[in-house]
Every structure is written in C-alpha cells, then in structure tokens.
Amino acid sequence: MAGLITMDDLTNEQILEILADAERLLPVARGEIYLPLLQGRILGNLFFEPSTRTRMSFETAMKRLGGDVVNLGDVKTSSVVKGETLFDTIQMVDGYTDIIAMRHPRQGAAQYAQDAASVPILNGGDGAGHHPTQTMLDLFTIKQAHGRLEGLKVVLAGDLRYGRTVHSLSHALTRFGCELIFASPDLLKMPEEIVSDLLAQGASVVETEDLYDSMNDADVVYMTRIQKERFADEDEYARCAGAYKLHARHLKEVKPDMIIMHPLPRVDEIDPSVDDTRHARYFEQAFNGVVARMALLCRLLGVSVPEEVKGGAL
C-alpha cells in the first residue's frame, strides 16, 4: 500500500477529503468519545532523530482510535548503532507493524523506506526534505480559521532554507492558488530549486527581508525558528533574529482574521504577548497534529471515517 512521502502523493481532492475526515474526528481527538476504528492495528514509530510533537501526536492519534504503537526507542540503544542499514531496519519493522511513521536525518530516507516496505510509510520529516503530515495539520488549521484554502495570502517567515515544514507547505499552498510571501534573512532564503519548482507550477511568489511590512494584508503568517548555529557570526544572528520577532505591538495594522502559526518549538520569534491575541493559533495547530494524523492513519490503512462520528463514551 502506498504511503505519504511528499504532498505529491495526494491530489487536492484527497487532501480536502482527509481534512473533512479530520474535522469529523475532532471529538475523538479531544477524548470526548471513543471510536476504535483502528483496533487491532499497530503503528511502528521510527524516529531516528529527536521529535516531541510529531512522535507524540502519532502515538496519541493511534491510541485515540483504539490502535497500538511500538517504538524504535532511542537510536543510541537500538541496532542502528551497531551499523544496521535502514533497509534492514525497515524489513524487520515491516513484519511487526501495519503502518510506519518515520523521521530520519537523511533526505530521501522516507522514499527509500517506502521502496523497501510493504506497509505504508508516513514521512515525519527526512533531513531538510519533506514533512507532509505537518503540512496536513497546517492546512487543517488554515481551513479551520478561514473556511477555505483557495486564494489566501500567506507569509512564510524565518528560516526558509533549512525548515522542511515550509518546503512542503509552500508546494501545497501553491496547488490551492495561494499567494506566497517568503520573508527571511538572505542567508536563510528559500532554496532556489524550490522557488523555481513553485514558479514552474504557476505560483505567485514574492521574496523579501521585511517581515513586518509584508504582514499587513496577509491571511496567514507562518513563523519558523531561526537557529543560532546557522550563523558564523553572533552579531549577524542577533540582527537577523531581531528582525523576525513578532510582538503584539506589530499586529495593530493586520487583518482582524489573520492567523499566526508556528510549527513549534518557538524560542524568541513569537513574544508571549502574542499568545493572548485573537491571531495566535500555534497551540491549536499543535493539537491539530493529532486529528490530522488520525485522518491520515485511517486513510492509509484503508479504514473509512463514518459520515456521522458516533462512539461510546469514555
């Protein structure tokens, strides 16, 4: 069965169907009702590099639907440290599980795993490559706020070079005809090959270093973390990080329904003063990771989400 390696594995119609499934699964994700659609199924969580939200939300999603989870555990104590190839690890886990969620530091690892596996692979991030399950929860959050995905104006800000979440998301938003503004320091610009791919798809892209100026008529501002280790010079880091820090005082001129998103963890790029504004959506976004992944698990395991979600009380 095919997995989800990049957003190209889903058509726009499938994306919208999965988001609709996710919407219906919200009470299950909140734990208000129990709906064991995936009882008897096992998810293999293979995280070859650290993850908090992605790993935990996959686990929560599977358990909320009555399924079970086995974990690779710490890579340092697994057979990977003994030199086992990814191919061999996948062969083994393929036999133990019905579906695999995976994160790996090497780009292309998810496709490599999918070619080696008979069960579907859900790519939870491969190097600076793709992170399509994050994109699905991002799209869910945007649709929840604006009621649509089509034709929105979206600012992606911060580290666009290494941030894989913005790579997958910009491709998906282009497919829905969104206008994209990339606001980043020159050093952390969106990679050229991604910009040229987007332009070839007919995207509307503006690149700028000025975050605040680009926000005023935006529907979504998607912030990412600027990492200190990307800069050779500490002063340069301080200057760049300072120019991409949102404070409540920057939001006076923005549209009333503009939302601010962040894949988290944040460091200094969103001041806590923003948390209490109507624009902040990053904590809902993190919660939406559970419901989006529930819908994806059902879809990839061939389980239909009922049109009317009813279940037993907990």
């Binding site: 090497r106 292309g108 690892a109 496709q111 490599y112």
Partner: protein, 158 residues
C-alpha cells in the same frame, strides 16, 4: 580540417572501440565513466579539441582490445549523449552502437547531494536518478528529489 584528418591524428586500431563526437573537453570524463584510468592495461588514445564540422570541435577516444558493453555505454549518456561508438574488429567497423538514455539512470552513478540517504553505500537498494529533461540534461534523485550537479556526477560513478 576534415573529419578524416582528425581521426588520423592517432593510428587506426586493429580491435577495440572508437568513441567519436564527444563534446569538446569531455573525453576525460568519458574515460572516468567507463572506468578506464591509469591502471588500465589496454592502450588508450585520446584526442581533444579537434575541429569538427558538426560540433565545431570535439574529442575522440580509441580503446584497443576492449569492446565497450551496452551498460557501460549507457553511462556515457550522462556526459556525451550524442557520441558515435564503433566496435572495431580487424581494422573494420564491425558494429555501431547507440547510446540510450532511458527515463531513469539506475546503478550508474550515485546522487550528488551529500545528505541523501544513498550516500551510505552499505544501503543495498538501487541508486536511481530520474531524467527530468534531456536537452539540457537534468536529473533528479528518486529518493531525495534533489537536482543533480552534472559536473560532480563523474566523481560518483559506481
């Protein structure tokens, strides 16, 4: 200067392979792609930057006592897709071979992106580069999706 004159810069070979119409300056990369290096025992003649009516200038390689195989030849698609290849037996052209560039280049070279999963050579699955454009040649790794740096590919021959 005629094409015939260019060919005569090196003597005719009795048995082996002649690769003509190599883009100027690419002969060394062709040899690398074929795995023909300093340790090769057979005589190899190489002519670079000779005038060509068709190409302006070109390179030519003659390899004695070795007939290039089709899989070896397909590697040349990456550096000299329009080269002419003749197998010589007893001073005559016995066969003319065509270079084929399919939709995918499998197990010829490995991806040029340093963080691709396939840089671990212990991983046993095929090295696969997709042909996304033929002229100019553009390749992308099947796994990581990165566009390939053609200048570096010759260093990544498997």
């Amino acid at each position: 200067m005629s094409n015939e004159h260019s060919m005569r810069r090196v003597t005719a070979i009795r048995n082996g392979t002649v690769i003509d119409h190599i883009p100027s300056g690419q002969a060394m990369r062709v040899l690398e792609m074929l795995g023909i290096g300093g340790e090769t025992a057979v005589p190899v003649s190489l002519v670079m930057n000779v005038p060509s009516k068709k190409m302006g200038s070109k390179d030519i390689i003659k390899v004695e006592d070795r007939e290039v195989t089709q899989p070896e030849l397909d590697r040349l698609a990456l550096v000299a897709p329009d080269a002419h290849v003749s197998i010589i037996r007893a001073y005559s052209v016995a066969e003319k071979l065509t270079i084929n560039l399919g939709e995918e280049v499998v197990n010829v070279v490995r991806c040029t992106f340093s963080n691709c999963i396939t840089t671990n050579l212990r991983e046993p699955q095929d090295h696969r580069l997709k042909v996304v454009n033929r002229d100019p040649l553009q390749l992308r790794c099947h796994y990581c999706g990165r566009p390939q740096n053609l200048a570096e590919l010759a260093n990544n021959v498997l």
